[in-house]
């Protein structure tokens, strides 16, 4: 069972989730309901033709912009883009500093 999160951090994660979905929608040009249907197991890189390596570069840059964080390219490995859950975890961790 997952540990119980405090209301503040769960709100933060919810907001991070919302922003991350908006970034993916803007970059991939997908309809909002398709983005809303993403769950943790939704595969990203390799499964979505819109998400090529150039789009990944744009994605990281938009994440920096909208989360007001700095992402070092060396910190990013291929696993981050395997599925939505990994990308969300990575974002939550970066936003938390």
């Amino acid at each position: 069972m997952a540990s119980v999160a405090t209301p503040v951090s769960s709100l933060t994660e919810t907001e991070t989730d919302k922003v991350l979905r908006a970034i993916l929608r803007d970059i991939l040009g997908l309809e909002q309901d398709r983005i809303d249907a993403f769950d943790r197991d939704t595969e990203l890189f390799g499964a979505l033709p819109e998400l090529d390596s150039m789009a990944v570069a744009g994605l990281l840059t938009e994440m920096e912009d909208r989360f007001d964080i700095v992402i070092e390219d060396e910190d990013v490995d291929g696993e981050v883009f395997e599925n939505y859950g990994n990308l969300l975890d990575f974002s939550v961790q970066k936003v938390a500093g």
């Binding site: 803007d26 991939l28 819109e50 390596s53 744009g58 840059t61 938009e62 390219d73 291929g78």
Partner: protein, 220 residues
Amino acid sequence: MQPAQAADSAPKLCLIPPLFAEANRMRRLLVSVMRHLAMAHGIASIMPDLPGTLDSEAPLSETTFTDWQQALSVACEQHDPISHSAAFRAGAVLDSALPHAKNWRLSPIPAAKQLRLLARTENAALRESGVSVPALTEILETARKDSVMLAGYALSADMVTELMDHSDLTKADRTISLAEDDDEADAVLHGPPLWLRAEPGEAVELTVAIADDIARWMAG
């Protein structure tokens, strides 16, 4: 429909496109904005291709930021009077080349951020081929000293240095954002940020909203 007739002395607009890949992605929208400005508002506009970008035949590798500023200034002198500029994204670093034109901007970003994106795109290709990637700051520091190829763009050391050093954007006469929470924007327009997309397609409502906002601002 015939375009509304404008007097020779009527205000004229210069559109400054985004830089690098974003210029290609936004071009269709920008041309549609120009068409709507002419047809619906009778406003004449120009959009020069910066040397080495879009349809320009000048080699980008031999082009500097100063060349871009001069080209823009000369293009606007030929279409006197250019009274207003509308810069998109990192194109905002160039509107100071038209000191007599009032400036409007859409989602401006500093040129350094655009270069960081190019370096990152280069890294993305490296990572795909299984090579370990250098830090972005390292790539850009090297690029200040030697010419580089970043994401297909051949950039001289002068170009990179000048772009990095022109990164502070002063406040524009009007700044528009597509993001709700942008504190620095004077107004928000709703529509997709097409510069992020490999296949941007069309955004008709956004096109009209941009043209209408520019026309109202120019009339004000």
